[in-house]
């Protein structure tokens, strides 16, 4: 990026407040809401909101953010293919979870029998691994090691 552009970006950040405050929730397609929410609850320790809608379920993350599970008729995931992450036609995950205890989370997921990649140390970028939920939605899990 040219220097002038950089300065522009910085000025922009200083003077304007983003009109999108935060991500309130993600939508995840699942084949069976009941099974999926049970899985998220048991494996990841998420709270399932008792007031969720009939056709979906709301899972609550630690910072109040939601995962909104929606039942879809045809099989699909939130993943997509891209060349811009790791090599050609990489199956991309839709979000990264931040955790405080990545080794435990990795162990728990491994024991649950889903697709899971080995834990990798990214140096100053912390520890990471990828996994898929039983419906095939892929995620990245990350712990900042400071």
């Amino acid at each position: 990026m040219a220097e002038k552009e950089l300065i522009n970006t910085e000025e922009q950040q200083a003077t304007q407040t983003p009109m999108l405050k935060r991500v309130s929730h993600n939508y995840l397609p699942v084949s069976n809401v009941e099974l999926a929410s049970k899985w998220y609850k048991e494996t990841l320790g998420l709270t399932v909101s008792p007031r969720g809608p009939a056709e979906g379920a709301i899972l609550v993350l630690g910072n109040g953010q939601w995962l909104f599970l929606l039942e879809t008729k045809e099989k699909r995931t939130a993943n997509f293919m891209t060349d811009q992450w790791e090599g050609d036609q990489y199956e991309m995950f839709s979000l990264t979870f931040e955790v405080e205890n990545i080794v435990e989370v990795h162990k728990r997921l491994r024991e649950s029998g889903v697709y899971i990649e080995p834990l990798s140390d990214q140096g100053s970028c912390g520890l990471q691994f990828k996994f898929k939920d039983p419906d095939g939605n892929k995620f990245n899990v990350w712990q900042d090691t400071e």
């Binding site: 990026m1 970006t9 922009q12 950040q13 407040t17 983003p18 009109m19 999108l20 405050k21 935060r22 991500v23 309130s24 929730h25 993600n26 939508y27 397609p29 048991e42 494996t43 990841l44 320790g45 998420l46 709270t47 909101s49 007031r51 969720g52 809608p53 709301i58 609550v60 993350l61 630690g62 910072n63 109040g64 953010q65 939601w66 995962l67 909104f68 879809t72 699909r76 939130a78 997509f80 293919m81 891209t82 060349d83 811009q84 992450w85 991309m92 995950f93 839709s94 979000l95 990264t96 979870f97 931040e98 955790v99 405080e100 205890n101 435990e104 989370v105 728990r108 024991e111 990350w142």
Partner: protein, 316 residues
Amino acid sequence: MDEDKQRVDIHRFITEARNGDFDAFRHIVLQYSNAMLSVAFSIIGDFHEAQDATQEAFVKCYRGLHTLDDPSKLGSWLYAIVYRTSLDFVKKKKLTLPYEDAISPSINNVDTWLDQHIMQETIWNAMQSLEQTSKMAIMLHYLSDWPMKEIGQFLNISLSAVESRIRRARETLKRQLTGDFEPYFRMQRLDRKFEQKVSERILRSAGHFYIPVLHREQVLDWFVQHFQLGISRHGNLLVESGHELYLLECHTHLPSDLPLLAFEVSDIEELWHKLQHDEVKLESINTNHFIGKYFIFYDPDGNSYHAVENRRKNNV
């Protein structure tokens, strides 16, 4: 509850929690939260901070559960962790914040907060004449439902020592405090909500979000132009909370009929009118029982998003 049965249960919970059963860990949190809070308050002298310390201590416990070799030592192990964590809290507070800033009232109920604050300070002052073990014993007496024997085990003192310490501490407090202070203690008890909070911290948050697009630059500019998003040092879009949106190009892209993300916005009507004026593709404002007021909008590549109004954190 039958004491032997309880012991067996706790052993089972520890084994199961270590094997990755999260509900078992929740049982431990539920069983010990008020005992942990008692220790934390006895050291910190502030319930709000003591709760944070207790939470922090449980997270440490969860991470270190595999290091606990002898399940019968759970109590003393937890005690040691919350004790050290609380000392760290006191140290940190002294270093960084003047006392008044360390506990800020929530804006809605300043009056209640002030009453509570005065009550807490009065009680804390009255407790200063007690030794630390007595402070912990009397707190455990008020906050937990534990029998004397168990309190003794947790604090590693004999049954008769617990009984006499609690008796003397009560007398001291009654002498120094006029009015009925005991309900105040009972109000501070932790319940299931606290256990939920701890559990949620274990899986803390979703940090980064990835969006499939056909033309990265175009969508990036579009987000900056219409929503004034910032750009991170990695060149990604930044929402106000500091989370990054990564735009990644795909060869072919069939936008999903599901929205990708829902964004919280501060003024939904205002944003809707602005986007309408900017000729952004969008649908009218609707209300949904679960997400409240919202509208759908589309980026130039056809991805759909929800804009939702600020919802209070715990309205689920």
